[in-house]
Symmetry: C2
């Protein structure tokens, strides 16, 4: 007696929440218009990608007697690479170097996977994560799919964390009974995507004090994906890993080896201070893929050993500075500031973060956005980059992909559209 | 007024369920005893890994004018690689080739990630997946972490699906109100891990008929990871993708390009017949990592184009046959069959699946397992490979890693222990 159960696919709640990323619509727009200059994608500079460095690394690896680099590796990542990561992190904060430092690292499919694992083992649908404002939009969309609420930490008019407003927000969450759902704090700490801003040392310390004062000594995720991508000088701001106010917090620090080197290799990593948290992320990674591609890790290991990695970073830093200046200075020269737009000159990263005049809506569905695409220039609408209460008048521009000439042309096209909206 | 909320880490249900994979304990045992010959790991043959093929592919890729292979790629995978996958699949089942075939493929971090994505978008905790018996233990442990129940499809004494017992089981699930929780059917269809068995065409067709008869036209996941790893002759059994009884089922067929080539590159793939299911898996992959490493995909694309991929498979097939025979024949020659052990001679894959005399417990915590480790030989206890009602007297041996001499020695050691248990 066959039952009357409906056949077919019943999706899980996560499956049902999964939506096409907004950015895909932008990419489609780009494909429809091949002459479009895209300031949207957070891709890196193509021309400077290290063909020769990778080739010589692979030649060395594949002439070794051992063929283990083409074999499965460890779920946690290659041991030597994790030791190299410990050394690398210690160049920023020497006090982090100890004999067990490498055991706290794990290697992932880009730093994105580390973010995913962290959220999977911490959050249930309905939980809350405190996020920076603005924040990394791929992370925000991931939270939406997980059914997790992102709540922005308030900032002042300079983008700096507003501690008293944050205290008030947390008190509101306590009163509404939501505070126990706050499971983690997330921010991009250096040359942020999208704002290019770095948290300064004082606000970083104060954030820990504010959270502690509210009884929220909860997991913190410091996304340091752009820390290596400074233009001229390293940031002097320590990470949460060494600031005393953060000492009692469970910490996950994450970054990537390939964003500044060769994104096609996709080797990210996390450093986690809590063995139990780390273990649960690793078990879950075991189910995702039981280890990121061993060969890519071996390539990175090799280019770190032979110095190619640092040389590449040394080459691209002044290049990104020039590219940033090409975009930044053309926007100024064309008079965008006089049209009421404001932005800061970044000291690293891949982005300009522009604030349009308050009444100018730059969202994906707006005439302004459409007009820019028609004029042959694409940007990321800032509205995607907020956990909540998204303002409509921000724009992210990336100077990662295009060359200087194209960046200047894109700036010209953009200011022309902006001018047409000025009264 | 700071509240009394408990600070620290609160894990999600998934985080709490995540446990150290049992196999890790085996690996630790192996590390503690360097003279151990491991038949446990499902790794592939080291000596035959294609150093030269990969080196020449990378040399070609990194001398191209375009550097796109070192840049981010598409979330779904490289377009040319997906076209090649369509051609590859059509060598088995030509009727699957059409102009849109490539759009149904997606590339993953090993086929494991495709499994993970499939389960994520289909299953809630408490749901049920029907699995083969025995089944792939990494998949089973993933289900446990997801809170999903695996229910074995009954088999007869030859390991063949027992349709009438399955009907009865499904009726029981209907009566207990559990049947609506069945969200998918999973099996490894060719030279299975762990049993090395392939489903034959009749039982495969009958399975669809049985499920349909019970009103269960639900998603089916055919894990064809070992289909390319036949020893001498291709299996003549079609996949679910072309058997008419399966026509109405939503189907995900998955496999890997790197298990038979170079596991260190970790390029798996899925082919999904349902656009909606595929889209939801892709959105979720976008959150995992927004695309598997582009460079690895480009390497595979290149070795498929230049014929290196097929040559490698042509080389390793007779090699795995020889290795299988070294293990299989030594076990026979040493008299294991006379001790009451039974197993089939595989026609592909990497495993022997042995049934011990009924009263002999071979589990991880047993004296037998300990004695094997002491004697310098490691296996995977069969108890890990069952969704439910696990018998205690099975063993998986892999002939993937060790050379023929070591395989013979491992067989000698194993039979010696088995003999000491014979009455």
């Amino acid at each position: 007696m066959p039952s009357q159960i409906k056949s077919g696919i019943q999706f899980s709640a996560l499956g049902l929440r999964a939506k096409s990323p907004t950015i895909e619509r932008l990419m489609t727009a780009a494909l429809d218009n091949p002459k479009l200059l895209s300031l949207a994608a957070g891709f890196t500079d193509n021309a400077s990608l290290p063909h020769n460095v990778v080739r010589s690394a692979v030649n060395e690896l594949t002439r070794r007697e051992s063929k283990e680099t083409l074999q499965y590796g460890l779920n946690q990542g290659r041991p030597l690479l994790r030791k190299q990561l410990a050394v690398h992190l210690a160049t920023w904060e020497p006090q982090l170097m100890d004999a067990a430092a490498d055991t706290r690292f794990f290697v992932t499919n880009g730093s994105q996977q580390a973010l995913y694992l962290a959220m999977q083992v911490l959050c249930e649908p309905g939980d809350i994560v405190l996020v920076d404002r603005p924040s990394y939009f791929v992370f925000l969309e991931m939270l939406v799919a997980m059914g997790v609420r992102a709540i922005s930490m308030p900032v002042d008019e300079h983008g700096r964390l507003n501690q008293s407003a944050l205290k008030q927000r947390l008190t509101e969450l306590e009163l509404s009974g939501d505070r126990q759902r706050i499971k983690a704090v997330y921010f991009v700490s250096y040359y942020s995507n999208p704002s290019s801003r770095s948290l300064d040392e004082v606000e970083k310390r104060e954030l820990a004090v504010t959270l502690t004062g509210q009884g929220l000594v909860i997991p913190v995720i410091e996304d340091a994906a752009y820390r290596d991508l400074y233009f001229s000088e390293r940031s002097a701001t320590p990470s949460t890993l060494t600031l005393s106010e953060w000492a009692d917090f469970p910490k996950l620090y994450l970054s990537t080896l390939t964003k500044p080197f060769a994104t096609g290799l996709k080797v990210g990593y996390g450093y986690c201070t809590e063995p139990d948290w780390l273990a649960r992320m690793l078990h879950t990674k075991g189910h995702h893929d039981f280890g990121s591609a061993n060969f890519n890790q071996a390539i990175i290991e090799r280019v770190i050993t032979d110095g190619g990695f640092e040389r590449q970073l040394g080459d691209i830093r002044p290049m990104y500075l020039r590219k940033m200046l090409a975009l930044h200075e053309t926007l100024i020269a064309e008079g965008l500031r006089e049209l009421g737009w404001t932005w800061s000159k970044p000291e690293g990263g891949l982005y300009l973060w522009l604030e349009a005049p308050e009444n100018l809506d730059t969202g994906l569905a707006t005439a302004f956005c459409r007009k820019c695409i028609d004029a042959g220039v694409l940007y990321v609408p800032g509205e995607l980059c907020f956990g909540d209460e998204a303002p409509a008048n921000f724009i992210r521009m990336s100077f990662g992909v295009l060359g200087e000439t194209d960046l200047r042309e894109a700036a010209l096209r953009f200011v022309k559209v902006a001018r047409s909206y000025s009264v």
